[in-house]
Symmetry: C2
Subunit: 406 residues, 2 copies
């Protein structure tokens, strides 16, 4: 019998009725012959409430105590789901992070799992008992509760699946899989049956919010087969797997976009060695992440324009840092532009096929969309364009790459 | 420097503002030179909410999982209070039951503490760090969370004070001490400066709700000096101490009442050996506690009337049990009366002074109150009377024993 790890997020366990529906779903898997370990998040809104209280309690928060407060949410749903399963005649027990234990480092608030002891849990599964594990939390070597940060329950589920050598890790969420693009914008977007870890990683970091990059990385590292599916219907979801498992790989798997971008241009920067370090060093010191960078060749042999992007929320800080260095850097003007969007085309098929970039540039040109910045990797091409063209660009690219649903 | 344990109940930590007020109070003690360990309950209402969810989740609850759910409440306040203390510049850390650990037996929902490891906590206190401990919870030898039941946080505080050999255990609550009688009924009731463990035990079991009997028993056993005081003002409270500490012992310390009483009379019960066992055995089997019992001498040498009291909430069950045994018991009529109240006079002084009972009976007679049942112990006299006389009886007795405030 196969071991399956199932993870249910906050909206799937938002109240007792929904927790009951999760129990029904787990029961169906048990009755189909699977051995099931379940990972649950806190009820939707609970973690935010706890975090808000903690923020009210102290301005400068001890992350250790913050973790003690916010980890209470998963504890509650773990117990409640176990009770719901037992009420349906399914043998079940709950596990908190410290009980297994799920060991982590001491980086409270975004701890990394260093190991999970699954002996007792494995025995329970073997005996036909559903194991309900609190997501998002572990325990440090000095016996403090540590939380894993954003996407933490997904990480718990993937780590548990790896430790149990599970057949599959099913991530139940409020969408029914990974789409070729955002269905709210691209009406013809299709759900993907399968996608590679690499593509999923790019999608997660380029704006698709269905999975957090850390859980995808972990799944890739341990070769855990992930499935993203909806807890509100019974449709199959999207499998995130190794490239080898995908027989007919499409050229492009998805078109994503991220509005959390802002562009900064420094005009007439002196074209001499060390100028890039002088600009990006202070930004890095201020913990501002710079994403795309373009530096033109100096037409006059003396100065050039330099453009880069940062997260929109960090634009103000970035400008402050650069204004403070104006005389040192010797630029002419500092031109911010928050009204930009990054559109990306993702597909492992690009590795072996030329022409993907060409299609992108031609499509943008045909729609009269000016490309401001370009960046590429082995399996993706991203362009920065004016935000007002977002929907137009997405739909045009979706058609151009032949992704439109039948 | 003295070690003080301070315990704050649910209304004292009902929201962030109140938790902040608790932190201010703890800071005052620290600044006065005390080494403070704090025990906190869940925010008022939280435990009830969690218990209600658990009850919705399963009809027949696994007490182990129930405990996992409800113990989350104390976890939250423990972290929040620690954050509030740190925000005020006071070094502090939180402890959950499993972290110390507070060891308990496996009787989930009403577990008993078998030991507390206070080494790390003691070192923290020595270093001037406030130790904030979650009340109501411990951990079993198979690493499950167990809760202590009603009054659980008080029990945690007393057990911790015993383990730390603390100078005093202060129980902060929403009343400012132990009164000679219920001030809502007896306007002239006085707050007691001191009361003995034995008296406090009788008060707690006879209707005064300020402390739970289990915590008083534990304090008495380990000779922990308890203080009951208000978290909403700065007045001294009532000290619960050994008899030796009270120099001038009053004859009577308090007049209590309990409305949670119901009377049952069986008429013309055959007066033969074994009849009491035949009546009370089945009630005990049904887990119905019988309190006061009166059996008259058989006037005719053949049958007698038998009267006893049970908790009002158990009256229906008690009647059902006895109706089912009617032919076996051979009584004539089964007469229930829920409209009764038990009024008690308590004082260790009774041991050495006669006349306390006489005063009670004379006072009741003077007010025309009929005494239905009497029961006594070394330090209390209880009478059952019609409920409508409650206020009259309390005020009259309070005056008769000289307890009225100046």
């Amino acid at each position: 019998m196969a071991i399956i790890v199932q993870k249910f997020g906050g909206t799937s366990v938002a109240d007792i009725d929904r927790i009951g529906a999760v129990a029904d779903r787990v029961r169906a898997s048990v009755e189909a012959g699977d051995r099931v370990a379940v990972v649950v998040s806190a009820m939707a809104g609970v973690t935010n409430q706890l975090a808000a209280w903690a923020a009210q309690a102290a301005r400068d928060m001890d992350p250790c105590e913050y973790d003690a407060v916010v980890s209470a949410g998963e504890q509650v749903t773990t117990g409640l789901l176990t009770l719901c399963l037992q009420d349906r005649g399914i043998a079940a027990r709950s596990w908190l992070g410290w009980q297994l234990p799920i060991r982590t480092d001491r980086v409270h608030g975004r701890a990394r799992i260093s190991g999970i002891d699954v002996d007792a849990l494995g025995k329970g599964l073997e005996a036909g008992q559903v194991q309900v594990v609190a997501g998002f939390q572990g325990v440090t070597d000095d016996r403090r509760v540590a939380t894993l940060g954003r996407g933490g329950s997904d990480i718990t589920a993937v780590a548990l699946a790896a430790a149990l050598r599970a057949e599959r890790c099913d991530i139940y969420t409020d969408v029914d899989g990974v789409y070729t693009s955002d269905p709210r914008i691209v009406a013809k977007a299709r759900k993907l049956d399968k996608i590679t870890y690499e593509e999923m990683l790019e999608m997660a970091s380029l704006g698709a919010k269905v999975l957090h990059t850390r859980s995808v990385e972990l799944a890739m590292k341990h070769n855990v087969r992930l499935q993203v599916l909806s807890s509100f219907n019974d449709l199959p979801g999207t499998l995130v797997v190794d490239e080898d498992e995908i027989v007919e790989q499409e050229l492009v798997s998805g078109i994503t976009y991220s509005r959390d971008e802002a562009k900064v241009t420094l005009t007439r920067v002196p074209d001499r060695p060390g100028v890039a370090a002088a600009i990006f060093g202070p930004l890095s010191d201020a913990e501002i992440n710079v994403d795309m960078i373009v530096q033109n060749v100096a037409a006059d042999g003396q100065s050039t324009d330099l453009t880069f992007t940062v997260a929109r929320s960090e634009l103000k800080d970035a400008l402050k840092v650069l204004e403070g260095k104006k005389s040192l850097l010797g630029y002419d003007q500092l031109l911010p532009d928050p009204d930009v969007v990054k559109v990306s085309v993702i597909g492992v098929g690009m590795r072996s096929h030329a022409g993907v970039a060409k299609t992108m540039f031609e499509t943008m040109a045909a729609k009269g969309i000016n490309i401001q910045v370009i960046s590429t990797s082995e399996i993706k091409i991203s362009v920065l364009i004016a935000e007002e063209y977002t929907e137009l660009a997405l739909r045009a690219l979706h058609s151009a790459y032949g992704l439109d649903a039948g």
